[in-house]
Symmetry: C2
């Protein structure tokens, strides 16, 4: 095992669909860099709560943020959380309903969400989040002031304990179904693409989108 | 309040971003019908576990399924779960980092995942799931046989307790930032589109994709 391998523990060892499991940390990082939202799972009042939220990655650290008043982030701070990131790449049509599937890339990360303290470290986390969602924006837009920083909670999650699953390719049908005449099987791919920038109506009419926005065009990954 | 209104309880009442909260059950149904995957949150060994999975909706019931051996579905059966469905519609570029956001549609559903019993009811659940993921496929592909049905767990979740949030439109900047020269603000939309069908390599070379596959073209919603 190299230092770049994922190190699954009991709860992050993939049991179902082992052939889809990936063990290279680079595949985890590539998925996190390509996706835009995660689903954060916490336990609140004894029951699970799953909320979509933005994130950013720096090395082997995942940053999360939100309003300092949000109950979900308060529940997450200092506790065991689960962060799930999924990209859907296509629908897999099989010859039998049982083998219908989807092509996807999925990461499930377990760990303790640690509150980030200190203005410098918190600004670094927010910069990482901003540059993930909207590269080039940290140097373009106004940065957080003291009041805004105080209103924001930043959490860090170590990426050590993660499971990555990727499914690609055609359906895996039963041998006995392969010859059925008239039944189609294959993959219908899904692609995510950027649309044209829609300027804020309060901008001057001649304001052009800057290069860091204009360069986001075509497929997202 | 009409019978079509969502009925939030304490845990499903939206506190952050109240202006984004929707209360019409039709908006919940529209989002569920347009999205393709959900994130299912359960508590397993005392910590949250969030996994992506398919689903289907029939009226006010959400169906989930998976291998009868999957630990996550075993943990979900008969317990309180949280199902989160999110569609990302665009990145919102603001004049200040603090007001960066995303345009999205989100549903967070709380409830007890009830095991579906009886072959007829289970087949109905599987049909709902299949027709959600791949409309037209239940009548095209081979249906589950006794062995496949035994290997599949089907759960039903009542959609009564759900919170829906939708953000659309331009950034909400502070008044003081509106006049900053040279700072762009606006929305970069994201669109999901179907690609060309990729036939299974084991099909006869002249096999054409049927109408229920070919008709999925352009934007997904």
């Amino acid at each position: 095992m190299t230092t770049d391998a994922l190190s699954p523990t009991g709860r992050s060892t993939i049991r179902r669909g082992k052939d889809r499991a990936r063990t290279d940390r680079a595949e985890l990082h590539a998925l996190l860099d390509s996706a835009m939202l995660c689903h954060l799972g916490v336990v609140l009042d004894g029951v699970p709560l799953v909320l979509p939220t933005g994130y950013g990655r720096d090395g082997n650290t995942l940053y999360l943020h939100g309003s300092s008043g949000a109950a979900s982030l308060r529940a997450a701070a200092g506790t065991e959380v689960c962060v799930s990131v999924t990209e859907l790449d296509g629908i897999v049509y099989a010859r039998s309903v049982f083998h219908f599937s989807v092509n996807y890339r999925s990461a499930v990360i377990h760990g303790r969400a640690v509150p980030v303290v200190g203005d410098e470290a918190r600004l670094h986390g927010l910069r990482t989040l901003t540059e993930h969602l909207a590269p080039g924006s940290w140097d373009h837009a106004r940065r957080p002031d003291k009041r805004e920083l105080a209103a924001t909670r930043v959490l860090a999650l170590d990426l050590t304990e993660a499971a990555v699953k990727i499914r690609t390719g055609p359906p895996s049908d039963d041998e006995a179904d392969l010859g059925t005449p008239g039944v189609w099987a294959g993959v219908l791919p899904l692609r995510r693409t950027w649309g044209e920038p829609e300027p804020c109506p309060l901008l001057p009419a001649d304001a052009e989108a800057p290069a860091h926005v204009q360069s986001r065009t075509g497929p997202t990954a």
